[in-house]
């Protein structure tokens, strides 16, 4: 007994002392802590991400019919996909194709040329098989998209949900980045009330997207909205933005920006404030102008953060669904319909196969874009900075 007491006091759990059930249990837990820590996350992801992913892949390749209480599944191969890309749903997904106009040819061939030049440069400089294959995938998607736009937008026809999604992602994120960076830069200056602005600018991020959607519907109302006197004054009193494709798209981008600029702003502001003061002060002493200081000192320091925050933002932007759903229900026509919304509408009309096919196409475009962005820009930057 005295032996036990000393070893307990010394904090040893020698094999002899660890006979009680509780000790044995905690020993077991400790020995299995490797698995214990990570298993819940892995299991949850397997059940709620991977299983649905595989299941919707199967759905995407089949035709599902609901019958009575149950459903029947028939494997149809690439039917669902080819319907979207070449078939009756082409106008919806890719757009209404027209014979490519001169402008379209110039644009499409221009992109093709640029991409080929880029691939050629890579192949002659530092060729690796994997790197080349990755770039070929990126390049073919870029060319494909370029010709899609060439055959639709640049030839005077509307594009489909893919084009709309890309518009939200690239135009929206671009604007959001520029404004977010600008605001962060202004707020990083030595001015009064920085904390006030910081808190206020952050607020939109906390509002439910559906609320943002309805709020902006009120804002945009040209007859009863707060700006209706202004519309009347400029003579657009009877203009309904919801019937004009581009006005509707732009309004959705405005609402999306209102909601998401805070995220970019807050992260970039933190990054800006993390830039060591000495660097900036040394440059000031050296007589650099504020423009030079920003581009030569500050910008290189925040590039990694900026790249990461934009990667996250782009990932989220591809998923956009609530705003177009609330603000326009995808209209006029399909002008503001994002791919997520497209898939959602297909589901609503109980066409599960089409719904999953569109969702998978969205996943494909997102992955290729994000992986390209990450490998070509983020990793490239990291290498350049050593």
């Amino acid at each position: 007994m005295s032996d036990n007491a000393t070893s307990a006091r010394a904090g040893i759990s020698s094999p002899e002392a660890s006979l009680t059930l509780r000790v044995r249990f905690s020993e077991w837990i400790d020995r299995h802590s490797r698995q214990l820590f990570i298993t819940p996350a892995v299991v949850m992801i397997l059940i709620f991400s991977i299983f649905p992913l595989v299941a919707s892949l199967i759905i995407a390749f089949s035709r599902i019919r609901l019958r009575g209480g149950g459903y029947s599944v028939r494997f149809v191969g690439f039917d669902n996909f080819s319907k979207q890309i070449f078939g009756s749903e082409q106008f919806h997904f890719l757009g209404t194709f027209a014979p490519i106009s001169a402008l379209g040819w110039v644009f499409g061939l221009g992109v093709l040329g640029l991409v080929l030049f880029w691939l050629f440069k890579y192949a002659t400089a530092k060729f690796t098989v994997l790197g080349f294959l990755g770039r070929v995938i990126t390049a073919s998607m870029a060319v494909g998209l370029a010709f899609m736009f060439a055959a639709t937008l640049l030839s005077g026809k509307p594009f489909g949900t893919l084009g709309t999604t890309l518009f939200y992602v690239f135009v929206g994120c671009g604007i959001q980045f520029l404004i977010g960076l600008g605001l962060a830069f202004l707020c990083s200056q030595p001015i009064r009330g920085r904390n006030f602005f910081r808190v206020v600018f952050f607020i939109p991020m906390m509002i439910t997207p559906i609320g943002v959607g309805y709020a902006f519907r009120m804002m945009a109302d040209t007859t009863k909205g707060p700006f209706s006197p202004l519309w009347k004054w400029v003579g657009w009193g009877d203009f309904t933005w919801a019937t004009d494709p581009w006005a509707a798209r732009i309004f959705i981008v405005v609402a999306d920006s209102w909601q998401w600029i805070p995220f970019i702003f807050i992260v970039l502001l933190a990054a800006l404030e993390n830039v060591p003061r000495d660097f900036v002060e040394a440059a000031q002493v050296d007589g650099a102008s504020s423009r030079e200081i920003f581009f030569d000192i500050t910008w290189p320091q925040i590039v990694p953060v900026a790249a990461t925050v934009m990667l996250i933002r782009v990932i989220e932007a591809f998923k956009i669904v609530d705003l177009p759903n609330i603000m326009t229900s995808g209209g006029p026509g399909i002008a503001t319909e994002s791919m997520s919304l497209h898939s959602l509408f297909a589901w609503r009309s109980l066409d599960l196969g089409q719904s999953s096919a569109v969702a998978y196409l969205l996943l494909f475009v997102t992955v290729v874009t994000c992986v390209s962005f990450f490998n070509l820009i983020v990793v490239g930057r990291m290498r350049a900075n050593g």
């Binding site: 307990a8 006091r9 010394a10 904090g11 040893i12 020698s14 400790d30």
Partner: protein, 349 residues
């Protein structure tokens, strides 16, 4: 309690950082693992603690094989270089943490913490947080936390290197006193030879993952087995000169030095400690040299002289003074010289 390392090796991927290390630490001994950074001394200590897996060989503590035992079952306590105090716990909670985990009663923990805190003069600080303490106090908290468990072995990883020079000297003395009082086997890692010399019963000098010499501080200083040991120990480092040895006569430039030993080697190194040299007039003495610099250290003047084979440091009288570039001679007792093989670095006797 004894600690025995039997042929332990450690590799990180292809890099081998410890080569078949054999070490036996006696009961109650203060053993110092001395070496430059990257010598593998910290890795060895962390392997004893169980924080690093063992690639090959075995470790036993008190006769029990602990090679694959979890750290907490080895009954060792460690003091880290950064002290590793838990920032969100008070000094008292820090010290009492091992006892709390051992599920001792509250009052018992309090008694023991008070007891140990008394020994390291921290009684007044038990309610403070580590960030409110000075470096020396933090160091004592770390020590107290290790002591409170009465472990079989103390492991210390450069515990004094974050302190300023003055405090370090003070803590060194305290550490030595405490270790003798407690009589707990201690393995202490440092790169500071002064700490090694003053604290250790025995010093194990490591280089590139290999044990160079294991001996008492006195014999590692007086009787180094390799050129590396000779140069590592001592301040200023031992003077060395390359030359050739022919029938016991060492040729250093044009100088011929009788060594009193009948050894021959085309490639040999002569070693000589600074305090064993004397500055004499030019022409006298055994080595010709040119005065390079004088530094008055306090109780002596450190003379740096340029010889045919590199710089020599000489501890001269405090009053010594001579103009720069003056020709001088260096004299010494041939008994005090060390000879090493030029290629292997092994001592030649």
């Amino acid at each position: 309690m004894t600690v025995v390392l039997n042929q332990i090796t450690k590799s990180f991927g292809a890099a081998k950082v410890l080569h078949e290390l054999d070490l036996e630490v006696h009961e109650g001994e203060f053993l110092v693992l001395l070496g430059a950074s990257g010598s593998g001394k910290s890795t060895a200590l962390r392997m004893i603690a169980g924080l690093e897996s063992v690639t090959g060989g075995s470790i036993s503590i008190d006769g029990r094989d602990v090679t694959n035992e979890l750290p907490k079952n080895r009954n060792v306590a460690m003091v880290f270089q950064s002290y590793a105090l838990y920032p969100h716990k008070t000094v008292g909670e820090n010290i009492g943490y091992p006892l709390k985990i051992a599920r001792l009663g509250k009052s018992e923990i309090e008694d023991q913490v008070r007891d140990v805190a008394d020994q390291v003069q921290l009684t007044d600080y038990l309610d403070r947080y580590p960030r409110q303490l000075s470096g020396g106090q933090r160091q004592r908290v770390a020590l107290a936390r290790a002591m409170v468990r009465r472990p079989a072995v103390f492991l210390m990883d450069e515990p004094l290197s974050n302190l300023d020079a003055k405090l370090r000297g003070h803590m060194r003395a305290e550490l030595k006193h405490m270790q003798q009082q407690l009589g707990i086997t201690t393995i202490y890692v440092t790169h500071d030879q002064v700490e090694a010399m003053t604290l250790a019963h025995r010093v194990a000098l490591l280089e590139m993952g290999k044990l160079q010499q294991l001996a008492s501080p006195k014999s590692i200083y007086d009787d180094p087995e390799t050129l590396f040991v000779a140069q590592f120990i001592g301040s200023p480092p031992m003077n060395v000169a390359k030359g050739s040895l022919d029938g016991g006569v060492f040729a250093l430039g044009d100088d011929r030095i009788g060594t009193g030993k009948s050894l021959s080697s085309p490639d040999a190194v002569l070693g000589l400690r600074a305090e064993d040299c004397r500055v004499v007039e030019a022409g006298a003495g055994k080595i010709r040299a040119k005065l390079y610099a004088n530094e008055l250290i306090g109780d002596h003047t450190l003379v740096t002289a340029e010889t045919a084979s590199g710089m020599f440091s000489i501890k001269a009288e405090k009053e010594f003074d001579a103009p720069m570039n003056a020709a001088i001679g260096i004299d010494f007792d041939p008994e005090k010289l060390y000879l090493f093989d030029g290629s292997s670095g092994a001592r030649m006797r």
